[in-house]
C-alpha cells in the first residue's frame, strides 16, 4: 500500500505542476537581445541629470557675471581645465567628442552652441544631461533658481527633433532618476516631520504616526515606480523603436552612500535607499526582455563605498569643495557648496577647494557629485562594462 500512496502523491504532484506557474516576480526578468558585437560608434548620446551634465549651466558661473564666458564652473565636479565628467571621458576613449545639447540659465538658452563655433561640431551636441533633470517632470531640482532641468522625456524628444532618429552607430547612455529620488525623499521627509510633530504634541498617537509615515513612504515609492516605468517606456518607444541599437541604461546608485547621505539621520536613510531600490526594481521590470543592457551602478557604487582604496580613493565622505569658499566666491549667492560653482585651479581667485582635499583621490566634490577622480572612476568602470558587453 505504500506504493499506492506514493503513486497517489505522484499523481497529485503532477496535477499541481500542470496547474501552471504564477506570474514572475517583477524586476527579476533580465533584458534580452542587446547587441553582442562591437559597435562602430560615431556619437555618444547621453541622457540624464547632473552626473552626465557636460556644462549646460556654465553661464551661471560667468566670471564677468553677465552669462558670458569665461566660466569658472559649469559642470557638477571641480571644474579645472582638465576636469572632465564621465560622459566626456567615455567619449574620449571612443575617439569621439560630446558637447552640451543645450546651454543656458535663468530663462535664456542656446541649443547646440558648438555648432555656432564650427559646423563640423554640430553632430557632437548629444550631451543632454542637465543638473536637476527628472525623468518626466519638467520641474526639476533648481528650476526655480534658473536651472533648465529639461526632463529626460524631452531630452530624448529634442534629440529626435534634431537628428530625426537614432542611428545604429550611436552609443546611447541613459542614466537618470536620481532627482526623482531626491524630490520624493524631500516630500517624504517634510511629511514625516509634520507627522512626528503631530505625534509629539499629542495630536495623534505614536501608532497613528507610524502608520502615516508608512503611508508617506508608500506614496513616495509609488512615484518612484511611476518614474522608473516611464523611463523604461521612453527607452522602448522613443529610443529602441526609433533606431537605437546600442542602448545602455544605468540603474540608480544609493545616494545614502555619499557625503550628503552621511548627514542623514539613520532612521530615514533606509527610506532613501528604498526609493532608489524601488526605482531600480521597476526600471528592470520595465526593461524585462528588451534589447538593452542595464548597467548596475547600484552594485558598483556600493563596492566603491565599501572598498574605496581598491578604486584609488582615500576619502569618500567629505566634499572636496568648500562651501564657505564657494559662498564667498559667489558673493553669498550659493550657500550649499554646489560643485557647479567649484573650481580646483591652483592659485585661482575662484578656487573653491577645501584645504587638504585632493580632487583625484577624494571621491566627491560636493554632497553627491563626483570630483575629477570620482568621474574618472565612473568612466573607467563604464569602459569595463561596455567591454564586457562586447560593444567596444
Amino acid at each position: 500500500m505504500k506504493f499506492r500512496i506514493w503513486t497517489l502523491a505522484a499523481v497529485v504532484s503532477a496535477l499541481l505542476a500542470a496547474c501552471g506557474g504564477s506570474d514572475p516576480v517583477p524586476g527579476t526578468i533580465a533584458p534580452e537581445g542587446a547587441p553582442t558585437t562591437k559597435g562602430t560608434f560615431t556619437a555618444l548620446v547621453s541622457f540624464g541629470d547632473s552626473l552626465s551634465d557636460v556644462g549646460a549651466y556654465s553661464p551661471a558661473t560667468s566670471l564677468t557675471g553677465n552669462g558670458a564666458a569665461p566660466y569658472f564652473g559649469g559642470k557638477f565636479t571641480n571644474n579645472s581645465a582638465t576636469s572632465t565628467v564621465w560622459v566626456e571621458n567615455l567619449a574620449t576613449s571612443l575617439g569621439l567628442a560630446v558637447t552640451p545639447a543645450e546651454v543656458g540659465f535663468a530663462g535664456q538658452s542656446v541649443k547646440c552652441p558648438a555648432a555656432a563655433i564650427s559646423a563640423t561640431l554640430a553632430g557632437t551636441c548629444t550631451g543632454y544631461g542637465q543638473g536637476g533633470s527628472r525623468v518626466t517632470d519638467p520641474n526639476g531640482i533648481g528650476k526655480s533658481g534658473g536651472a533648465l532641468t529639461v526632463p529626460m522625456k524631452t531630452q530624448i524628444a529634442n534629440h529626435l527633433n534634431r537628428f530625426g532618429s537614432f542611428k545604429s552607430t550611436d552609443l546611447i547612455v541613459v542614466f537618470g532618476g536620481n532627482n526623482d529620488a531626491f524630490v520624493q525623499f524631500g516630500i517624504f521627509t517634510a511629511a514625516a516631520t509634520k507627522i512626528q510633530t503631530d505625534a509629539a504634541t499629542g495630536k495623534i498617537t505614536a501608532d497613528a504616526a507610524s502608520a502615516a509615515i508608512f503611508q508617506a513612504q508608500i506614496a513616495a515609492q509609488e512615484e518612484m515606480k511611476k518614474a522608473a516605468l516611464e523611463l523604461a517606456g521612453y527607452v522602448k518607444s522613443e529610443i529602441l523603436a526609433k533606431g537605437g541599437k546600442y542602448v545602455a541604461v544605468w540603474n540608480l546608485p544609493d545616494s545614502t552612500l555619499t557625503p550628503f547621505g552621511g548627514t542623514l539621520p539613520a532612521s530615514v536613510k533606509p527610506v532613501l535607499t528604498g526609493l532608489v531600490d524601488n526605482f531600480n526594481l521597476w526600471l528592470a521590470d520595465g526593461l524585462a526582455g528588451q534589447p538593452v543592457k542595464i548597467v548596475d551602478a547600484n552594485t558598483q557604487f556600493k563596492d566603491v563605498y565599501n572598498n574605496p582604496a581598491k578604486y584609488g580613493m582615500t576619502n569618500n565622505t567629505v566634499p572636496a569643495c568648500d562651501a564657505t569658499k564657494i559662498q564667498a566666491i559667489t558673493q553669498g549667492a550659493v550657500t550649499d557648496g554646489s560643485s557647479l560653482f567649484c573650481n580646483s585651479t591652483p592659485g585661482a581667485p575662484f578656487n573653491g577647494i577645501r584645504a587638504g582635499a585632493d580632487v583625484n583621490t577624494w571621491q566627491f566634490a560636493d554632497g553627491v557629485h563626483p570630483t575629477t577622480g570620482g568621474h574618472k572612476l565612473i568612466s573607467t568602470e563604464t569602459v569595463k562594462v561596455l567591454k564586457a558587453f562586447g560593444w567596444i
Partner: protein, 213 residues
Amino acid sequence: MTIKAHILSVAAVSMLTCAAAQAQDNVFKLGAIRYTTNSSTSGIKGPGVPAGADAETGDATTVILVYERTLTPNLGIELVVGIPPRIKSRAIGSVAFLGDNVLSAKNVAPTLLMNYYFGDASSTIRPYVGVGLNYTKFASVKSSLAPKVEMSDSLGAAIQAGVNYAITKQYGLFASVARVDVKSDLVAVGSTVLTTSIDFKPVTYSLGAWYRF
C-alpha cells in the same frame, strides 16, 4: 477548486480499484477542526521595508469532511477535505503598527492520509496514527498593503494521531490531532514588491462523528 476536484477524483478512483481480500468498509466522518498556526517567516523583503518587519498568521476553525476506506482491519486510507477557512495574518516586529489584518487567504487544504489502527476491529476504542500528504492552495489572497498578492501552493507531509470511539458498529465519535507541513512563498505587488516565505507549522485539532457502511 478544480485542483481539489481532481484530487478527489484521483483519490476516489484509486480507492475503488483497491481489491484487497478483506472486507472493506467506507467511513464518513464529519467534524470541526481548529487550525492553529505557529508560523515563522523568512522576514519580509523589499525596497524600503524597515528592518525587523514581520508578520504572523492566526488561527481558524472550520468544518471537515473525511472519507475513509478501510483496507484491512488495521489499515485505512482517508481523504480529509474542509470548508476553506480564512486565515488572517497580523503585522509584528517593527511594523506592528500596521495592525491585525495585513494579509488573509482561504486555505484549501485536502489531505490524504494512511492510518494504522491499533487493537482489534471490534474494540470500542481504537487509537490510530496516520501519515500522508497535505496539499494547500491559498485562495482569494487579500492584503491591505498591496493590490496583488500571490502565494505559492504547498505540498507537504502530514502526520496525525487520533482515536475512534464506537457507539455502535455503524457510528461513533473521533478526535485527532495533526501536524502538517505547510509552506508558501508570498509575492505582494503594489507600489513595490514584497516577498517572504511563510512556514505555517500548523497543528490541527479535530473532533466529530463517524458513520461506517
